[in-house]
């Protein structure tokens, strides 16, 4: 049934007679576009254009539009265009196509690129200040929720808290142990490799001990938790927001902050110091193993040196930071979750934002703590 499309143009005097034939359908789109493009220049010169449709076997929107375009070109050049011999079953389509593309949409005004750029910067600044407001707002409502719980201790959702603690604490242990173990091992290996040149291998223990206990243990664990649990919080709360579950909670007279966020953030605050401790121990263990097998420093010497090198202060400096980092991760994750709009894309976007923002803030916080501890001499 499908046949190759044809278009013959026979000029007779002032009249240009076009005879389309065959299948004018989307299947032959490329051929059709070439045919109608070739004929177009002749349309401008002819006085009367006559399109005889009798030869057309098949016609669809694309074919009809190309024919319509030719007749429009002739008309706009000030000539007459007649279409004759339309089969009954295609007359509806031709009539429909005559109506379309008549109105040219208003052109989009071209904006000055500098103004656009400035606008973007301005919007970014406002967005950043809104972020700070949202963070402080969440911190404030969290404090109010905590005060409420202190007044009525029974309103603390213990079941939820335990469950969240299990999820962000207990279930996170294997991956945290694995990662920090590897980090400790890598630091020890690098240290031994480079310190050996100065004959200072034994100071590797000092480096591993101080670095892990003060900074890396808690930082790596916080980043892992932000990626693992923070994103889960945002996605959970975001999908609850999307399905109007949070609205349902508030209409029942419950405070979503108290019911949903408080147990989650408290769980994080409890879990992160424990995880940091476990992580630090795993990192020291990894460092110790590398020192033994790669550096030839036996466990007894390693532990003895470690005993000399680190004090409880180093451990305290590390572990004090953990709950604050947990608070930041929790607040960012929850407030980003509440900013999810109706669509699935915004859920994905907000989850990404949550992770990026909380990792950034965790590192900034770590830097501020470093300044603080240095100034108080810890």
């Amino acid at each position: 049934m499908a046949t190759a499309p044809l278009l013959t143009a026979t000029p007779s005097g002032d009249t240009l007679e076009l005879r389309p034939g065959g299948s004018w359908t989307a299947a032959n789109a490329a051929t059709l576009e070439r045919l109608s493009g070739d004929i177009a220049p002749q349309l401008d010169s002819a006085g009367i254009v006559k399109v005889d449709m009798a030869g057309v076997r098949e016609l669809d929107t694309l074919g009809a539009w190309l024919l319509e375009k030719m007749s429009r070109r002739a008309t706009s050049a000030g000539h007459r265009a007649d279409i004759v011999g339309i089969a009954d079953n295609y007359s509806g389509l031709i009539d429909e196509i005559r109506q379309v593309n008549r109105r040219t949409p208003a052109p989009v005004p071209v904006r000055n690129p500098i103004v656009t750029k400035l606008g973007e910067i301005g919007r970014g600044t406002i967005g950043a200040s809104e972020d700070i407001t949202a963070f402080l707002q969440m911190l404030g409502s969290l404090c109010i929720a905590i005060l409420g719980v202190l007044r009525r201790p029974r309103s603390l959702r213990l079941t939820s808290l335990t469950y969240q603690l299990y999820r962000v604490g207990w279930q996170a242990i294997p991956i945290i142990v694995l990662i920090t173990f590897l980090i400790g091992a890598i630091i020890a290996q690098q240290g031994i490799f480079h310190f050996r040149k100065f004959g200072a291998d034994s100071y590797v223990v000092d480096m591993v001990g101080i670095l892990v206990l003060r900074e890396l243990g808690v930082l790596i664990v916080a980043i892992m938790v932000a990626g693992r649990s923070g994103s889960a919080y945002t996605a959970e709360l975001g999908s609850m927001k999307m399905r109007e579950e949070i609205d349902a909670l508030s209409t029942m007279g419950l405070d979503p902050i108290e019911v949903l966020m408080l147990p989650r953030i408290l769980a994080l605050i409890c879990a992160l110091p424990i995880l940091s401790f476990i992580g630090s121990m795993a990192a020291l263990y990894g460092g110790g193993l590398v020192a033994w097998f790669y550096g030839g420093m036996g466990p007894a010497i390693f532990i003895a040196r470690l005993h000399e090198a680190v004090s409880v202060t180093h451990f305290e400096v590390g572990i004090i930071k953990a709950p604050f980092m947990a608070l930041v991760i929790g607040i960012v994750a929850c407030s980003e979750g509440l900013r999810v709009k109706g669509s699935a894309e915004s859920l994905g976007k907000q989850t990404t934002t949550s992770v990026v923002k909380s990792i950034f803030l965790v590192i900034v916080l770590d830097g501020q703590f470093a300044v603080f501890f240095a100034s108080i001499g810890m």
């Binding site: 490329a30 079953n89 040219t104 669509s343 699935a344």
Partner: protein, 257 residues
């Protein structure tokens, strides 16, 4: 054979679809004539969408034969290449959210045809106007559209390649009565101008009454009644009686008598 494939757009014979041991479609037979609008009704969860998705090859079947426009449909690659012959309007529109409306409509064109960008834009605008939208709407993203507009854009995309058959999955669900009525009228108009065969899964009694040439009732995995609306209203099958003579269907009665 030539006659039947000329006459019928879709032929389903002895179709069986089951999920594990739960048989959803049980030896079902259905013919859809060329150029008609067939409405499919059935209980929620009764397999209407399963039947539609099986016909278009999204769900594998346990047995039976399906022929669309004279070509057998199997759950394989060959069928996928035949996808140009049909357009599908999914219930939620299924517009690609990262593309604008115009790009959504152009997507099937771009993938299947070799066309210049200018012509592609013109065709997309033509389709937009045919489904009753404005050329300006082409630059919007799916998230900026109302429910009725989403359905219209999805219909425009389904019609992008001028298919012979369109499958509509609950086209009027989630629309207010005015928008639903407009959409029904649009389907009817397009069906006439483009000579479409329309396979429509719906619960909307009003659209069954106004748009559909024939209505098929699916119950217990079989087509229990098929015919024009007034024949179905006479049907003695208990489920069909309950469906069309329930309280919500009372509005249909004056017309039927």
């Amino acid at each position: 054979m030539q006659d039947t494939s000329e006459q019928f757009a879709i032929r389903v014979r002895d179709l069986v679809v089951a999920f594990r041991r739960h048989v959803v479609i049980d030896h079902l037979a259905l013919d859809v004539r060329r150029g008609e609008i067939l409405g499919l009704v059935g209980a929620s969860g009764g397999g209407k969408s399963v039947l539609m998705r099986t016909i278009i090859g999204l769900i594998p079947r346990q047995g039976g034969e399906i022929e669309v426009m004279g070509a057998p449909i199997n759950h394989d690659r060959a069928t996928r290449s035949a996808a140009g012959r049909w357009g599908i309007l999914f219930q939620q529109g299924a517009l690609f959210s990262s593309l604008t409306v115009r790009q959504n409509i152009q997507f099937p064109l771009r993938e299947n045809l070799v066309l210049s960008d200018a012509l592609m834009d013109e065709i997309a605008t033509a389709k937009l106007e045919m489904v009753g939208l404005k050329a300006e709407d082409g630059d919007k993203f799916p998230s900026e559209l109302s429910g009725g507009m989403t359905k219209r854009v999805a219909l425009a995309r389904a019609l992008a390649l001028d298919p012979a058959i369109v499958f509509l999955d609950e086209p009027t669900s989630g629309l207010d009565p005015i928008a639903a009525g407009d959409f029904d009228a649009l389907i009817k108009t397009l069906q006439k101008t483009l000579g479409l065969t329309v396979f429509m899964v719906t619960h909307d009694l009003a659209s069954l009454n106004t748009v559909c040439d024939r209505v098929a009732a699916l119950a217990d995995g079989k087509i229990v009644a098929i015919g024009p609306m007034r024949e179905l209203l006479q049907s003695e099958h208990p489920w069909v009686r309950a469906y069309f003579h329930g309280k919500r269907s009372q509005m249909l009665q004056p017309k039927a008598s």
